[in-house]
Subunit: 159 residues, 3 copies
């Protein structure tokens, strides 16, 4: 196995600021010619949720988790100073004013740059998230797939 230009990230966090950081690094690396794989697990799956409600069969417990977790990039809070959503609204406002790409724009860019996005199937099972509830264009796989990519990558991050 030889050293390739490859970047792999575990996106564990579902905070807006960390999601932004992930996609800024991912799109930057892809633009610089690196193959990039993002493995979304636990709360990171919330970044990939469709904003609209998708009717799927769930157990009561799964419904509870579903309601408590943010649905998609527009609903994520920030990891500090969130203040019940005021902080994240403020950050979104500032980013827009400063003409920094928003999270949905970065996600769109990642797609165009062929960044591979994998949703962790074990976490989906635990949190009761179904494929139909997530955005299109994802791969669904487990930790072994992530590890296969990670072993080939020089840059490995856990976010």
């Amino acid at each position: 196995m030889e050293t390739q230009k490859q970047t792999t990230m575990v996106v564990f966090s579902g905070d807006l600021d960390k999601a932004m950081a992930s996609f800024i690094i991912a799109t930057g690396a892809a633009a610089m010619g690196s193959k990039v794989t993002m493995f979304f697990t636990f709360w990171g799956l919330n970044i990939l949720r469709k904003e609209q409600f998708v009717p799927v069969q769930k157990s009561l417990l799964e419904k509870m988790f579903e309601r408590m977790m943010p649905r998609g990039p527009g609903k994520l809070g920030i990891s500090k100073l969130n203040m019940g959503g005021m902080g994240s609204a403020l950050m979104r406002h500032i980013m827009k004013k400063k003409k920094v790409a928003s999270l949905p724009e970065l996600m769109e860019l990642a797609r165009e740059l062929d960044v591979e996005m994998i949703a962790c199937t074990m976490s989906m099972d635990v949190l009761g998230i179904k494929e139909e509830e997530l955005i299109d264009g994802l791969k669904f796989a487990g930790v072994a797939t992530y590890l296969g990519e990670a072993e080939q990558s020089k840059v490995n991050l856990f976010i």
Copy 2:
């Protein structure tokens, strides 16, 4: 120094969800033939605490920290939606129902797969944690030992 199949993690967090992620990655990598080293530091040490109280001599300050920190995998909270322990109880319940391996089971598996677990001696000193309070089979070492392993590893994570 040649590129080996080796994985190294700093486990800084003592949250149940992040601890689970660490051990899922660690056992997965070990099962795929990688040498794996986990370096437990700061709150990550709480994952390694014995569940029962161990009588050791401590200063008043050390006792204060000890009482505020969770003792072992059964007491860890989750990083989001913990709600005074309700969230972590819920997650444990769901994982059991879905037949996902629990944290103690993953830790046992890690041991069987010869994952090396190192407790950071500097953090133990700062938090007032003694060797007798931690589970068996650990190595005790500092950051230089971690760095020696990290330099040989392709996959390096900070969790």
Copy 3:
């Protein structure tokens, strides 16, 4: 591109405990002969703020963020058990008593060991932080500079 002894960190967090961990790893790696680059982004920029107030022109929104964010290592809270600053005061007290290097001392050491510290210009723009408000001896650059270093590093961490 050949494998060099190089270490690169994204310092995203502005928590005292994580900042300590970053600098302990950074100074350890530098002492062991590694080139080390720290890329400070988002809340991590607060670690680099001068403790005294620096009068610079800011918008109202920028002033709001400035006031809510800690100014320099002496004001950072810890990620767990902070309890309105009591936890971090306690930790600072214990570290001093145990003769563990403080964060300002570790930062001084990092400088002496030629650890490269880069402040993320995009985050500075978003959070309204100006160059004059940060400590001396920093480089100012964006994610592409970070990625250039990361690609050459065997140890890559996101903290």
